[in-house]
Symmetry: C2
Subunit: 454 residues, 2 copies
Amino acid sequence: MTDVDFCVIGGGFAGLTAALRLKQMGRSVALLEARDRLGGRTFTQVRDDGSWIDRGGAWIGPGQDRIRALMTEFGVASYKQYTGGEAMMVVDGKQHRYTGTIPWTMSPWAAMNLGAVFLELGHMCKSVPLEAPWAAKKADKWDQVSLAHWLEANVLSKPAHDLLETAIAGCYTSAASEVSLLFVLYQMASGGGPSFVLGVKDAAQDARPIGGMGAIYRPMAAELGDAIHLSQPVRCIHQDDSGVTVRATDLRVRARRAIVTVPLAVAGQISYKPMLPADRMFLHQRMPSGAIIKVSVVYDEPFWRADGLSGQSAAPGSPATITIDACTDTGRPGVLCVVVEGPIARQLARLDETERRRAILDALVERFGRKAGAPVDYLEQDWSAERYSGGGMLSHAPTGVLTQFGHALREPCGRIHWAGTESSAVMCGWIDGAIRSGERAASEVLEHETAAVG
Amino acid sequence: MTDVDFCVIGGGFAGLTAALRLKQMGRSVALLEARDRLGGRTFTQVRDDGSWIDRGGAWIGPGQDRIRALMTEFGVASYKQYTGGEAMMVVDGKQHRYTGTIPWTMSPWAAMNLGAVFLELGHMCKSVPLEAPWAAKKADKWDQVSLAHWLEANVLSKPAHDLLETAIAGCYTSAASEVSLLFVLYQMASGGGPSFVLGVKDAAQDARPIGGMGAIYRPMAAELGDAIHLSQPVRCIHQDDSGVTVRATDLRVRARRAIVTVPLAVAGQISYKPMLPADRMFLHQRMPSGAIIKVSVVYDEPFWRADGLSGQSAAPGSPATITIDACTDTGRPGVLCVVVEGPIARQLARLDETERRRAILDALVERFGRKAGAPVDYLEQDWSAERYSGGGMLSHAPTGVLTQFGHALREPCGRIHWAGTESSAVMCGWIDGAIRSGERAASEVLEHETAAVG
């Protein structure tokens, strides 16, 4: 039995941040992580040549001040995402190279549609209050329909429709039919609007930390030292009048309060005694994770750059749906990151390893030429196979959930407080949101302490 | 360590049926139930005076042949639901008494709307193939929107809209905004159409077993004898090449195959090793249960009958949203069953016991007169507070779920087979569906046995 002030469940950015801030305030903390590694839905792997690959969350963008603050704290510099050359859209097998956000070369009608939808989504986002999206004037209406329904009714050009569906639903790693329109607007608004979410330069994929996300979470872990307990999946959290008892595989932690930072579907697998209030229990049942496979294909050099390409491409329906240049700051080796999300990710996961690799490399060859077929390394990360993520990247809200149960996202349940990027009103869904949520939860438990003393 | 042919998880009707059929075929079975009682989402309580109350599922109707077969097997007779006198609709505080299905006295326009919607829903239901609702011609379209969206677009009269929303969404014990239109059509079709689902006489509330559901599940349990293990919540199911190992609180069962019969959100709390295929894991995250409080208000006699009322009433927005006569076959004592579902059930659950009782009795007095305020007994059953149901009555599919993940409802995952009413193509959501699913799962595991021998 470990006795501490506070117990933090989950060793992703939310949990590490909460634990770190509490430790820095002189409190004793135990952080329980189910896996044998830290980072949660981020995971930086260092290769033998010293280069590093982010197998999960990787990018940062403007407005993400809290991750910037952590980087400053631990002396981690950043570098800009490579955006030289042209991006590519593949529609009906035809490749369109373009620069900027909108692929005008595709067809003027499709491009106009895309532009109009961006404007409209941006306009709608502005009416969603981040702290209470369920209070938006049209919240009930928007929470009755899925993103798929809205796109079908509002995007007349088929290529534009397919691109938007791939790009937007991809953010939720699920089919567009699964995600509430209100949730999409809220999550976009939380990052600053559709241009931020879907953009690269000066947007959500603007830059990366040198050394990858591990360059931030590893020194956080070092500072936390023996407060961290790996391979300790939490089974049960018991609350009583004076504190909580958290039971993990072979550890029992007694603390005044607990902060649960794991994704909602995973939080729902913990047994709570007494039971959580119904709305929180139901929220755990109602915010699923999606499917995402992130493949890092490593070449000697980023050959696409010499061909005038940025490496960024989108091809709805392809097994290599989205690609983006994922080289380190040195630009060597060449790393092309392939992101496959939602229904296609689930299809690909059913193939055997060889078939999947072939399907992806074939698509890359078609898009980037023969060189793409001969990588020196190939790393797959299927987040659906990560038991303690329960999928990736972020939990989404189906229709009717935000308006009914959204209030429970941050409301503490007795001595249990909630963090994780899904609970952040600002940058919900990004690593920065996870960090914000960790800092908020740490403040919450400290405020209760003061209140108790007062 | 208990060694048996098959292990069944969950002691509701699905699990009891599966175990019973296997035992009757000469196989050894262990049935693990998490609670200290059987019945699952049914629960018959016998009162001191010998009368009985169904605190959960209670009714049977035409077409429910498998529960009829069980009743015959165990010598359980049935009696007709009381439908004498007039039913009542309360709209904007005004009471409308009527007979038949449609409250014509309400307003001709509203009644016409109700009638038209029933016809339209019935028509749509006919195009949904029960074994594969995702193959309906308009499946994608219907799975993009919620019931709420469809009602708003198709029911112009506000009173008709509110009644339909209460009645239909009530079936899923959730808000209409949460439930996929395709799922509503499928579930209705599974029972034979909207008139079956929403009707009483010759429909889903046509009759009841004498003695309540317990009169069926108790003799089933007696026949199973020491195969049943109560208070054994299952933590983990481990599959290997030769069988499964099921770990419960203080029991380990080794079997050739397992049948999991618990609601989907509860099945998602079990740890599976190896992990389940992604689609089944995601299904567990995506089919939530709803909120339902069933209150049995007991009087010396069913005084409403003498007043020319059937006891059946619907009052959208009221804390006593739905009422129905729930007397035993003898008609004494008088039992009025109050059903509160979805958002109102969650609101009511937040009141303290006294306030909630007052709110409900006040509503009954307004509807049925002063006698309703002086019950001799008052029994509440809040299914959201049942840890091992995770809510009630049935799990629903939000938008996009049936078309993407519906195929996983019945597909075995290696040596794990799935039952529970949600997995039944016929009478999905009713006790009869649970029984069918148990019989199907029992057949499945026996077929594998034959295949292995052959």
